[in-house]
Point group: D2
Chain length 335, copies 4
């Protein structure tokens, strides 16, 4: 709603939220703009009614994982486009979904129709798409950091993704480990070996991934630090080159790969999360350590913008044919 | 530059910055938009040259206190409007300036011409103004919190302003007490009895003020908690009323005082700094403690937006006749 | 348990905790020392059994407010000394208790027997006391900051206490406003006019108090900034004195009032919370603003140590006759 | 000085500090205990004089890297033991020192005499040692996390160490990137490929290391997340085992390796920095990801205690024959 409140082309018609039913948006989100802030949260039945009666052409879903697959089939009958921020339609293979999410998918035949909404990798399928699965936050940061290397054949074997997120990634659920008392002055890893975003990274890039997320005492932001092994051909290519020359060549590779991308910011120094705070940008850098023969690729995003809502709006823009950056031109709130 | 990068009406022609001369804006501010980010910092001589040769109609000054008074006389000859974010032209009385700032003002005759840029108190003088003194961050938050009470005769005597600011208020100067190591897990008062913003609060409201600023371990945001004594007439008015009725009447007073103000957000619960993060809004609430016969008025702003750059742009909009909220519609980045 | 783990004289025999029953202490408190960490949490019945069978001479209670008054009568029959960290026995007058806590006290006749455990004000009653009510965190910081001024007749009328606390003050209860997402980059006031610690401050000092607590994005620490009006005699005393001379006299007053106190640290500069982090110290400074005729007294504590557990152990030491600072010599963990 | 202020066996005789010459310790470190706080900083000449005249048997050095090698030769003539917290004597090979530190070592022949002070790996050489090089903070956390795996032959090839530190790791030097404004809401990597601690990790474990440090917006704490490849023999050993059985075996390996170590805390869940805050403990866990055939070993320390001063005192205790944990029994200040 924050992103949409500054969007010149979309109009927010209705807002759903079961637990907040009847409250005004601004009661929950004190920062809301006047127009959206005055809307009252509807329950699902009321919301479906509005979508039908007002022929709402596009719906954003931001439900807990597992719930959108129950709503989407019915919703597709009354609206033209669904932008789903949950994980429900991110994976094509039902068996793979079941392995990582621990339950059988309830409408597996929609999995093939859904478009994975990472425009920088493939925006061609988004135009007119009926169901878009917006990627997870960690997969967005790490995939975009590594894609040019892997897709250009520079690497081989598995990758290590060591990533860290601010606390808003855990949402508003009441858990002891999300209390400020538990988070501040604490840096810790979680979900070792088993985080569900692992499979998205692997599918996006066609590699095995060791993925370790960490929690950082800050509100927003994800940085993924990715380690990759060089392929034989890149070892040969780099053999007579200096460290600086290799890094220069890698920067060129990334510049060419992400040419004209509106949200990708490349730099020769390691990116941080502060510079993308509140924006839809992804800040990327890459280096190759000649001494240890290892690539290190880094990607920083705002986990709630490029890592969620902002990317959802970016997809929606492409789906309906608006400018890709419509409503998304805000620069990072820095410092 | 962050605020201007989203401004539809102003175009940034040149950027000055002595210590950064030659660097591009985006080297210092990684979050900058493409257009502004590509500009290179000029030194003062170069900047004056551009202003003259391109007939730049409006200049924002954000110099250390004491320096803009040396530049403004010359600058007024080559540009039409100056929006000065320093304290140099905020005080009308040269003697008062000298008392609080510790040195004689170098162009006292300009003090009378300068307009104090707090539009919510008086926007009538801003239209076409040649020299605008943008208020300090603490005075903005506290003045707007207390103005309806004081200007309506509800109070008497001095006020106590207990306020707290995030670390960006101290700017980028290298001081031991601004290090993260010194700031985190630390809450402390500073500049007791002597903070220079005291005089602005006093002048704005015509009262004596006890002002104690504190430093909070966060990046942005100011909250002013203000304590005021009731006048005899308000004691009489409130004598038969319940606590809730009094608070209801005060809310009405504030709603009437700030009717149609685009940036003032009133609420019946105490405001916090997070909801205005990155926005130009000021969030205000007020209560009267019947038991102790004390008003408590609170105002929250983003110290770098409504407390500095945002308010500067708001003034500039009024000066040249743009919509007052042009470039300032961003809602708070929350959570 | 952290404080007791370094205590040379007390031995922890058993630990109660209903919701954690069966868990080991170190499962909940990963920082625990080996000995205490190996204890398993007992439920109330089991705990009472151990106290009786092992003739445990002293019990610390840290129950939610309202619960210790139900347990204490029975507990007093099987143990010699109770150190209660709840608010249940801090107020002598049952009517006053009911006004602030919203329910009738269940054993009002014990109120008179209970000793309010603020040793710096009166440690004479603590020796051998059977029931000690450990003060609240805010009253500890603010009372100790203001006591020398008020008890020496320097002030008149009500006081304003503007205080701020780190997040651990809210404990481990799962509330939306205690989430890191809600707390970081947020500074806000809460419980205006109605915070229950108000009455403790008023009773300690015999004055009316306007008390406004704030929440700061840090883990530990409270700073109370207190504003007081001068009495006629102090106005007369200060009339011919310079600002510095007055502050010098006030420092002498405080040094004399707190002579030989092991935990009071006086300074001529405003104290912060970082310097007392993890220690039982209270850091105090005072000034008088001649221009506005206002005293400003500041007190900083670690809200979980001098503001709770540390003060409880200090009281326990005095109750049983150990050295007052036994187990409490840890200096602040700084920076 | 914080650690020593609670030490029952060492007495602090004198304190040196050129830039603070003449100031009392408590002016710089407001948390200091009374005794140490009253000492005044001496310059180097004065300090050497005291050491000589009072026959001080042990000296802690905490100088900028490169400076202790200039002082140590002379100091060894007037004191028995030096505990050096700088990097000057951590590396045995002068060429290796020059490669990583960028200048020739000024007394290379002392390199062989110096003992690397990581007691958990080898405490035998510390007893009576004349010159101890206290390890760096990152090497301490990562070496202790990986040592059991590597020294038991479970791994092969290079290791990836992805680590993050709180801001106190950067010390008190005034740098733009150490300002709170630059650090809060920022998570970023730095010194990619080139951090000087890399060589310590490599020397400690006899492996090549890819080491990427990150800066976390917190005051204290380091967590090292380490990735290692399995050797052929461990692949064979694990082939028929379940994930849980493998992790159980690894925990046994670590328990056996660190049996009776006073400061090593093993756990089956990933450690965080908060639980070791202010303590000399290192919290370690390990897992093996069967799916990707990768070990993940994690180590958390307080970078200023086990990562610096605490480890220095631990070494000093061993050097002179005190109990190894003398003065170091403080548990973590948690939460």
């Amino acid at each position: 709603m924050r992103v949409l409140s500054g969007h010149p082309d979309f109009e927010v018609v209705a807002v759903g939220g079961r637990s907040a039913k009847g409250m005004k948006v601004r009661d929950l989100y004190p920062a809301s703009s006047s127009a959206i802030g005055e809307l009252a949260f509807l329950d699902t039945v009321e919301l479906m009614e509005v979508i039908k009666s007002e022929s709402v052409p596009l719906v954003f879903l931001a439900l807990p994982h597992g719930e959108s697959q129950r709503l989407v089939p019915e919703l597709l009958e009354i609206t033209s486009h669904i932008i789903d921020l949950a994980a429900d339609f991110r994976i094509k293979d039902p068996a793979q979904y079941e392995y990582w999410y621990g339950h059988r998918h309830s409408c597996p035949k929609l999995l093939d129709q859904a478009v994975y909404g990472l425009p920088e990798l493939d925006r061609s399928l988004l135009k007119g798409a009926r169901l878009v699965a917006v990627p997870g936050c960690y997969p967005t940061a790490s995939t975009l950091a590594m894609a040019p290397l892997i897709k250009s054949g520079y690497t081989k074997g598995k990758v290590v993704v060591d990533a860290a997120s601010g606390v808003s990634g855990a949402g508003r659920s009441l858990r002891l480990e999300s209390l400020a008392m538990s988070v501040m002055e604490e840096y810790r890893a979680y979900s070792l070996r088993t985080h569900r975003h692992t499979v998205e990274i692997e599918n996006n890039l066609g590699v095995k991934a060791v993925f370790t997320p960490h929690l950082v005492p800050m509100k927003r932001g994800i940085l993924a630090t990715c380690y990759l092994e060089p392929s034989g051909s890149s070892l040969k290519e780099f053999s007579g080159m200096s460290q600086d020359d290799i890094d220069g060549r890698l920067l060129e590779l990334y510049e060419s790969f992400y040419d004209l991308e509106p949200f990708v910011k490349l730099s020769s120094t390691p990116p941080g999360t502060a510079s993308v705070y509140g924006s839809n940008n992804v800040s990327i850098s890459v280096t190759y350590d000649k001494r240890t023969e290892t690539f290190i690729a880094l990607g920083a995003i705002d986990n709630l913008t490029k890592g969620a809502a902002g990317q959802g709006v970016q997809c929606a823009n492409l789906v309906v044919g608006f400018a890709e950056d419509s409503g998304l031109t805000q620069v990072g709130v820095w410092p």
